[in-house]
């Protein structure tokens, strides 16, 4: 085979079908409407987790199809996921640490209450 020179198909990389690209955009727009709509419901602390879950699905669509990760060499995915893992570790440990302290032990941040126990 003469290696695909001239007009037609590239010798490297993966060509994403046009219909797939448009479908991904459609899904992203629907999810954007969903994340805005979800704020109309008061679900307490679940609201932030629903917002984050929708954002993760949107991000996955962008990475897999717009960024070709689905057809990428696995090692590039390893690099990407490692970065995400390190950020998750950073946030997780920072939150675990900050939860270990009472806010009123930080000067100037005590919750202002009406009375103090005598």
């Amino acid at each position: 085979m003469a290696h695909g020179h001239g007009e037609g198909h590239p010798i490297v990389g993966h060509v994403v079908p046009f219909r797939l690209l448009v479908s991904v955009l459609g899904a992203l727009l629907v999810l954007t409407v969903a994340t805005v709509g979800a704020t109309r419901f008061d679900l307490g602390s679940y609201n932030v987790w629903i917002a984050l879950a929708i954002a993760v699905v949107k991000a996955a669509l962008v990475v897999l199809y717009f960024m070709h990760m689905r057809w990428e060499r696995p090692f590039n995915a390893v690099i990407f996921i490692t970065a995400l893992f390190l950020v998750a570790l950073f946030i997780g440990i920072a939150l675990a640490d900050t939860h270990a302290y009472k806010p009123d032990q930080i000067p100037g941040y005590a919750p202002k209450m009406g009375t103090v126990v005598q």
């Binding site: 990475v63 490692t82 970065a83 950073f90 009123d104």
Partner: protein, 288 residues
């Protein structure tokens, strides 16, 4: 097909230290993904600041996010998502050698970038005029407060939280008559210790005053807001510059099925900028 590129005269874009175009392309891909990983880590630091501050002071985020315009934020999300599609489509056109479509789609992507920055400018200018800034510059105008909360709510919410009732004290058992206590030499404290109110009582008091209560240290929210959206905005500006450079070279016919690497890699960067915004929009504008 047996590693055909060896017996082929080298294309102009193949650097001498690479064996094949495929090797060159894969090396470049590895490099761009490593760069994107460092970008994620850089933004990660700001997301940590956000997470820690929101976990400690949810009331500031509940209060302050109402100063943000979620309609403009939503429009900007759509603008950025659409420009991501035109970028991915442009890469496809470069791969297939569709020169005219490539140029049109790159121009549309740049337009999307300018559209995003234009809306961001409207939002920033509004915050500047209404005193919704970081640090000591935070001085919200009455107009901004009314727009965010309406006048009735703020007035009602300014009443202090009701004092939580103290638990009843159990009566002491009577002591024998001949027991004498020594007088304590420790002076009584001028004020009781803080932090002894039960968590439940504290939660009730906070709920009673709802989200409209003017929170303290709101300037920190705007510090986080301007840092996160500002760093993201800088990335959009850089992206506009990079895509303009690609467009200039595309106009000279530099890209086609044999060589489209810069289009692909700038595209990956542009999608990452989109990716960051996908998280910034709900976390800053859609707090509930």
């Amino acid at each position: 097909m047996s590693h055909a590129a060896h017996d082929h005269d080298h294309p102009a874009h193949l650097q001498h230290h690479f064996e094949t175009p495929a090797q060159q392309f894969d090396s470049g891909k590895l490099g761009i993904w490593l760069f994107l990983a460092t970008e994620i880590l850089m933004f990660g630091g700001l997301f940590v600041a956000y997470a820690v501050y929101r976990a400690n002071h949810p009331e500031i985020f509940l209060y302050a996010h109402r100063f943000l315009d979620s309609t403009l934020g939503g429009i900007n999300t759509v603008v950025l998502l659409c420009s991501s599609l035109t970028m991915a489509w442009a890469v496809r056109c470069a791969q297939l050698g569709k020169q005219k479509a490539l140029k049109v789609l790159l121009a549309l992507t740049i337009l999307g970038g300018f559209g995003f920055m234009g809306i961001k400018y409207v939002e920033y200018r509004h915050k500047w005029h209404e005193g919704l800034m970081w640090g000591t510059k935070y001085a919200p105008s009455e107009h901004a407060k009314e727009a965010a909360f309406g006048h009735h709510e703020t007035k009602a919410a300014e009443k202090p939280a009701p004092a939580p009732a103290l638990p009843p004290v159990a009566p002491m058992t009577p002591l024998a008559k001949d027991v004498v206590f020594e007088q304590s030499k420790v002076a009584p404290a001028p004020q009781g210790p803080t932090g002894t109110v039960s968590k439940e009582a504290r939660g009730d008091a906070e709920h009673a005053t709802h989200t409209a209560r003017e929170a303290k240290n709101v300037q920190v929210f705007f510090g986080i807001y301007f840092l996160m959206t500002g760093l993201h905005g800088i990335h959009v500006v850089v992206g506009i510059g990079l895509i303009s450079w690609i467009l200039k070279k595309a106009a000279a016919g530099a890209y086609g099925p044999q060589y489209f690497t810069p289009v692909d890699f700038v595209g990956l960067y542009w999608h990452l900028v989109d990716l960051i915004w996908i998280f910034l929009f709900p976390l800053l504008y859609l707090i509930h």
